[in-house]
Symmetry: C2
Subunit: 390 residues, 2 copies
């Protein structure tokens, strides 16, 4: 395999995993396979932790719930952010301390709140009256933090208004939490997935600090700033080293909120994305018409078997092949399912070697986050993305 | 449960399943559950078969691969269209005759073609040179039909150019197939998912007939027209009775291709969608701001746990609740995952009862197709969509 380390090492945050490339080169795969380098996860954890310093890392389990990742992070002392009862059960089963797990989904089933409370989890996210009522009823006295809507930063994937409450309601929700016997300890927000530069946090932090000040004025003794995720992974555009990035973010946080509050950070993508590659295969290369400028390249993996983040071409993965010494030409990339929506990149075609053909291996870089867990149970009869941890 | 049969029976194609409503009303579900009425599938099969008359029905397994559906259709004499080796294995394991299975994915792994050939499957789709080479090598002498790109019809979900070849290459591909020792027996196309009126087929059939005539002129003794899918299900807009719809389509087909060619039809959605409902639950109702016109309603099922066809708000499901006697107001509908993309309907809000609240049951109508198989293996720790067949 022609491994083009040189193309990536300059910009990639930490050293790319030569273990991954060696493993992929030495093996054949009869179906698309995510290969995860667990030591690369550990290296990234240390790199982030060095920059986040006094903050607690709550790994966003949804990014990749592989058991080996959770186990390793438990051993390293990481905390966890869980989106569901299923993720809580997973973390607990692998030795996580319930006091180190936050239930960060603002949309929770009442019975799942009760389960979490009984399991010893004491901190919950909320952004609405009805959610506070459910928490008060099923986890009486629990700590809650209020998730805030913030204006879009310059993130590659700005978030919708799905999560959070507007500024006009934030303090009222804290009041309500207090009246319900809960402990409104702080606020949370999300700067946007894949926020590539630390400076992009400044405006968002200003917005949050303004609400924080309002809450203090209203008599709330806040002690927690949950800065969420947004820590970037390398997908081709240069990003800072994770330690530098995290340190700059923390500097901006401390400048606004002081040294006293506890800070939680929830890296997911930024912690595990670069620890995985997908070994895939080209199934077909074709042109639809003599006039076509682009070839169509069909892979054995698509939107419904692991590459869901290509929806709207949001995340642009990088590819390596055994033909990377050849000239390249523009390709529309598509998945293997009989589904016309299963097209990965069409608006912005991908440059791939001119000689690419059916049966060729293609390696998709930095796929450790948001791939395997998105995979469908068997759409079109294709099995879920296989995962191998090395 | 307040079952609003009256709202649906007028426009729905065949009588709605009172068995489904009775079963849902009589049971509690602790997670989102697709309930399928297998007798409703059989009724729809008979209704379609009556209209399709001389055509062979190849059920598009990808629409819903539930074992009980395949078993029932095998018993009824249906044929099957498979998208993958996995679907072929499923059909064979449930008693389907390999001579009744077409391998209709134009993008196939070489080893899967060989597997299908050895299993006795003798008809394959293709739309490209490299695919023909793979078929010739792994299924020598097999029948192939050339998938054509057709201009968009008025379908609710027109297809992309992902599948098919342009007119300029169609006959050349048939020539190549013949030269490779294959039997180029015909053509296939797809009129577009959810083509609500039979008249919408006319223009597409004209395009295909023009290529058919070119192929006959070039000396190809074509004997198969595969008209694909596109048979609609009821999602709120009136559709014709399936027998009438299918009969009108067949009349148009025979008018263009004569009485001699074998006709294959591949209904998926049109065969099983109306045989299923999803019993779901409201997790949270909230307003983000005092100024919001719409409430946000969060369900325990979303884009990544079964409702993938809400991407781009393409398929608009209908909902019933126990509060359908109340006034309604506009709602943005979202799924339960911590994923900002997991919003079902926002551009066109959904009217739901004003009193809707956390814990309420919500039934999603006509969900028998393209739901359970799209479900992720466990995104955010939520289990795949449960399926119960009654």
């Amino acid at each position: 395999m022609h491994v083009t380390h040189a193309d990536f090492s300059a910009a990639s945050a930490v050293v790319p995993s030569s273990r991954l490339d060696a493993f992929v080169a030495a093996n054949r795969f009869d179906k698309p396979t995510l290969v995860l380098d667990i030591d690369r996860v550990e290296a990234q954890y240390h790199a982030l932790a060095a920059g986040l310093s006094s903050a607690d890392i709550h790994y966003a389990v949804k990014a990749n719930p592989a058991r080996q990742i959770i186990e390793r992070l438990v051993a390293l002392g990481s905390h966890f952010d869980a989106a569901s009862r299923g993720e809580i059960e997973l973390c607990l089963s692998l030795g996580a301390d319930p006091a180190h797990i936050s239930f960060g989904n603002t949309v929770k089933r009442a019975s799942d709140i009760a389960f979490a409370h009984q399991a010893g989890i004491d901190i919950f996210a909320a952004d609405a009256e009805e959610e506070l009522e459910k928490i008060a009823e099923n986890a009486p006295g629990a700590q809650v933090y209020i998730r805030l809507i913030v204006d879009a930063s310059g993130a590659d994937w700005p978030l919708t208004r799905k999560f959070g409450t507007s500024r006009d309601k934030a303090v009222r929700l804290m009041n309500m939490a207090r009246d319900l016997g809960l402990a409104p300890v702080g606020v949370s927000f999300h700067v946007g997935s894949q926020t590539r530069k630390p400076e992009m946090w400044a405006d968002t932090l200003d917005q949050v600090a303004a609400i924080w000040a309002e809450a203090l004025d209203a008599g709330h003794d806040l002690s927690l700033v949950n800065i969420g995720g947004g820590f970037p992974a390398f997908y081709g555009d240069e990003i800072a080293h994770p330690t530098d990035y995290a340190a700059k973010v923390m500097e901006m946080v401390r400048a606004r909120f002081g040294d006293t509050p506890r800070v939680m950070a929830e890296p997911g993508r930024g912690l595990v994305a670069e620890a995985g590659v997908i070994a895939a295969e080209v199934l077909l290369v074709s042109r639809k018409s003599d006039d076509d400028l682009c070839r169509w390249v069909f892979l054995d993996i698509g939107k419904f078997s692991g590459l869901a983040e290509t929806i709207d071409e949001a995340i642009r993965y990088q590819f390596t092949t055994d033909r990377d010494h050849e000239d390249t030409g523009p390709c529309i990339l598509a998945g293997p399912s009989c589904d016309s929506a299963d097209v990965l990149y069409e608006k912005r075609p991908v440059a791939l070697p001119v000689g690419l053909k059916s049966g060729d291996r293609i390696v998709i870089r930095n796929c450790g986050a948001y791939t395997s867990s998105y995979s469908s149970v068997g759409f079109n009869g294709f099995p879920p993305l296989d995962v191998i941890v090395i």
